[in-house]
């Protein structure tokens, strides 16, 4: 049994790594917290003096332990931020060199994909379109212009650990690099009306030469 869907993108493993990192730290933290809660309950704290219970003066030292707890959590927190910062910048803030360029447009309730025509450029008259099926080549940097037509949708590719909301009137360019061939689902993760549940598309990741053949087929149509 696997927890995540099979990873099929270049940065998917980094996202999973952050999950396992946080899981490791909070497992240790949870064991400590469970001990801290259960110990006084199970032992019932019998035979303490009133001074110990009232804990003013000397007994009040424990507050420093709370600062220690906060400090440990702060260190762990900033370690997470330190680890995830470069990954976030890689996925969201940078665009590697463009090798393939497609438009992904969400509308009620289907996905429309546009590829450059024979001239190799998008946003020209010879662009070709597919509905609910996106062809991508494997191991290429793919730039996706993410758009929506009517309401907010969200492009979610679980196997690539990719998600981006798409808003009407806004063009958001993100990138993905698929590392395995095969067919993967692309779903809508933001509620968009009655057909929200039916808004699913397939991503077909092909070898480079198959991708070129497929494009040629599309041009003929």
């Amino acid at each position: 049994m696997r927890i995540f869907p099979e990873n099929a993108s270049s940065y998917g493993a980094d996202v999973d790594f952050i999950f396992w990192l946080i899981t490791g730290v909070i497992t240790v933290a949870s064991i400590i917290v469970i001990f801290l809660i259960l110990y006084p309950i199970l032992t019932k704290n019998k035979s303490r003096t009133k001074e110990q219970r009232y804990q003013q003066g000397k007994g009040f030292q424990k507050l420093k332990l709370i600062y220690l707890g906060i400090a440990i959590l702060a260190i762990a927190d900033f370690y997470f931020l330190f680890e995830e910062g470069p990954i976030w910048r890689n996925i969201e803030e940078t665009l590697p060199e463009k090798e393939v360029h497609v438009i992904v447009m969400g509308r009620q309730w289907l996905w429309e994909f546009t590829y450059p025509g024979p001239d190799g450029k998008l946003y020209t008259a010879d662009d070709v379109k597919t509905i609910n099926k996106l062809y991508l080549p494997v191991n290429k940097n793919i730039h996706m212009d993410l758009q929506a037509y009517d309401v907010i949708h969200s492009v979610f590719i679980p196997h690539a650990r990719f998600k981006q909301d798409v808003l009407p009137g806004r063009n958001i360019t993100k990138w993905v690099k698929m590392t395995k061939t095969g067919t993967y689902p692309l779903t809508c993760a933001e509620i968009c009306g009655i057909g929200h549940a039916n808004m699913k598309a397939e991503i077909v990741v092909l070898l480079n030469e198959d991708y070129k053949k497929q494009m040629a087929k599309l041009y003929k149509k």
């Binding site: 996202v15 952050i18 909070i26 804990q55 979610f156 909301d165 509620i191 549940a197």
Partner: protein
């Protein structure tokens, strides 16, 4: 002649207020009473109605998710439209009416005047008016289900353009009547009325707390719950403005044909997301703080020990309240905001875990060395902090770390996370309060055996319901989908089994709340009379008067000499020291 505060208050009480001490009839008590306890009770009954509706919706859509081809008993076949409407209204009702209403309005009304030792709110009529606005909001909300175009199904976050109509700005409305009598309009109006009610309540709590405290009760001698409700009310006031403005613009977009969120006319849907979450994130702390106050009261009393670090907790709460206004965009990491901004919000989100860690550790430190009395309220309180910290709080780290949020955003992982933060605080916290203060408020006792059955069923089946959602979310199950059968990767073993476990647990969880409802109403009429006015041997002022408290709360106005948590004082023989005892 020197007029002491007590004499002055007695003079007001006897001569100037509208409240007379005669017993009122049913009509007067439930509709026109100005007594804060009666108004609290009215709020409580109204919220019971709303929770029943929200719980019923949860039952229907959970059944549909696990058994999509089945006709759900008591409802019938669930269409996609029904499904969207059910989840949306479940969210709205539970967030806006149950959580905010129960923890601000009910807890504030019952507890603040009596715990600070006064007869009533500073403005009893404003208090009454706030309940009337609340009632109007409930009526508007319920009537929104019966509109011609069906209930509102745009998600409880109401992102436009979908919240303008089923097809965004392309929705074909024929006339103003057609636009106005839609669920969208009615839900927005309902929320507006409710917020007016809560603002009136909040200002009342604040003025009452500042002006009507018993003699000798300095600010740091107030019980923690009074502080928490006041901080929550003020935080609510600070954060609600943008949402009201946003909701008004949305109302105009629907009804007057404006385009504040229509990008083709110069608006922007992202604007709503900012306005909504600028309120929406502080709101979760508005909801969280009162239960933390309730838990503080219960843990300190039942540990027979002073609350650990009173001022420390207070300072951390104030820090958290300020920080809570700087984290809203962590709901929007992948919404199309500048990814560089996400880093800043990620840092603040992670930082806000620190004050809450401090508060929870202070509560745990209160347990240590305490003479623990593990009774029913204590079970709920410990259950609440355990689940809230271990699962609700810690899973927040996954989502606060923006990288993993790319994957987990809008999946069941988020659903599981916020159920683990809200359920232990709102539901467990409310039940802790019910089992703790029921004797005071009714003069009778809740049945302990059924109380224990209720606790364990709720505790076990809440986990049975919410935990599988984490696993489903990690497997990539996205939210708000009526039917998962068409997604092959979500139908692989054991995911359908997880969905069924979650559903069966949710149904048992909902059914076990009937135990409480029966226990509550049966005990209200027939329960065993309380033998003591102070059954938990607590220090705070509400326990130093009769059960139930008379009209005006105190026969003689108390004078406060001690802090609220002086248990096991070394110089005293008893292990408790009521605040008004010299």
């Amino acid at each position: 002649m020197k007029i002491t505060r007590n004499k002055w208050q007695n003079f007001i009480k006897n001569n100037l207020t509208m409240n007379t001490h005669k017993k009122h009839g049913f009509w007067h008590r439930y509709f026109f009473s100005l007594d804060h306890k009666d108004i609290g009770f009215q709020y409580m009954l109204t919220i019971f109605v709303m929770v029943s509706i929200g719980g019923f919706f949860a039952y229907v859509f959970r059944m549909h998710l696990a058994y999509p081809e089945m006709e759900v008993p008591l409802f019938g076949l669930v269409t996609n439209k029904d499904y969207n409407m059910l989840i949306t209204n479940h969210g709205l009702i539970m967030m806006m009416w149950l959580a905010l209403g129960m923890l601000l309005a009910v807890a504030g009304n019952y507890l603040i005047p009596i715990m600070i030792g006064t007869d009533d709110m500073a403005f009893p009529k404003l208090n009454k008016l706030s309940y009337w606005f609340f009632l109007i909001s409930v009526i508007l909300m319920i009537s929104s289900f019966f509109m011609k175009r069906g209930g509102f199904g745009g998600g409880w976050t109401m992102y436009p353009p979908l919240s303008v109509g089923d097809f965004g700005y392309n929705t074909a409305y024929t006339s103003f009547k057609d636009r106005f009598f839609t669920a969208n309009t009615f839900v927005l109006l309902a929320i507006t009325f409710e917020f007016i009610a809560l603002l009136m309540g909040g200002i009342n709590f604040f003025v009452t707390t500042l002006n009507k405290r018993a003699k000798g009760m300095t600010l740091t001698k107030m019980p923690m719950i009074v502080w928490m409700i006041n901080i929550a009310s003020v935080l609510f006031m600070f954060s609600v403005g943008p949402l009201i403005a946003g909701a008004f613009m949305l109302l105009l977009d629907i009804n007057a044909g404006t385009g504040f969120y229509d990008v083709y006319r110069g608006g922007d849907p992202l604007l709503w997301e900012h306005l909504f979450w600028f309120f929406g994130h502080p709101e979760v702390y508005v909801i969280l703080l009162p239960p933390l106050g309730i838990i503080a009261e219960i843990i300190s009393t039942n540990s027979r020990k002073p609350l650990y670090g009173y001022k420390f907790i207070l300072n951390l709460t104030l820090i958290a309240a300020i920080l809570s206004m700087m984290v809203w965009a962590h709901h929007q990491f992948v919404s199309g905001i500048d990814p560089r901004a996400a880093t800043i919000f990620s840092i603040f989100t992670i930082i806000i875990s620190l004050p809450f860690a401090g508060i929870i550790l202070a509560y745990i430190a209160t347990l240590w060395n305490g003479d623990l009395k593990i009774n029913l309220p204590m079970k709920w309180a410990i259950g609440a902090i355990t689940l809230f910290t271990l699962i609700g709080g810690f899973t927040g780290l996954y989502l606060g770390a923006s990288v993993f949020d790319i994957y987990a955003h809008d999946t069941s992982f988020v659903v599981a996370h916020f159920h683990y933060t809200l359920f232990p605080t709102v539901i467990f916290g409310s039940f802790a309060a019910f089992y703790y203060w029921f004797g005071k408020f009714s003069g009778r006792e809740l049945n302990k055996f059924w109380g224990n059955v209720h606790f364990w069923l709720t505790f076990i089946f809440f986990n049975g319901f919410a935990f599988p959602l984490f696993l489903l979310g990690l497997a990539g199950q996205h939210r708000r989908i009526a039917d998962y059968r068409q997604f092959e990767f979500l139908m692989q073993d054991p995911l359908p089994l997880y969905r069924q476990i979650a559903t069966i647990s949710a149904v048992i969880l909902i059914l076990s709340q009937f135990i409480f409802i029966f226990n509550f109403f049966w005990s209200l009429k027939r329960g065993k009379k309380v033998t003591s006015d102070n059954p938990w041997e607590s220090n705070t002022l509400e326990w130093q008067t009769a059960s139930p408290p008379p009209h005006g709360n105190f026969a003689v106005y108390p004078e406060v000499h001690h802090g609220p948590y002086e248990y096991n004082h070394p110089d005293r023989e008893d292990d408790f020291l009521p605040q008004n005892k010299k």
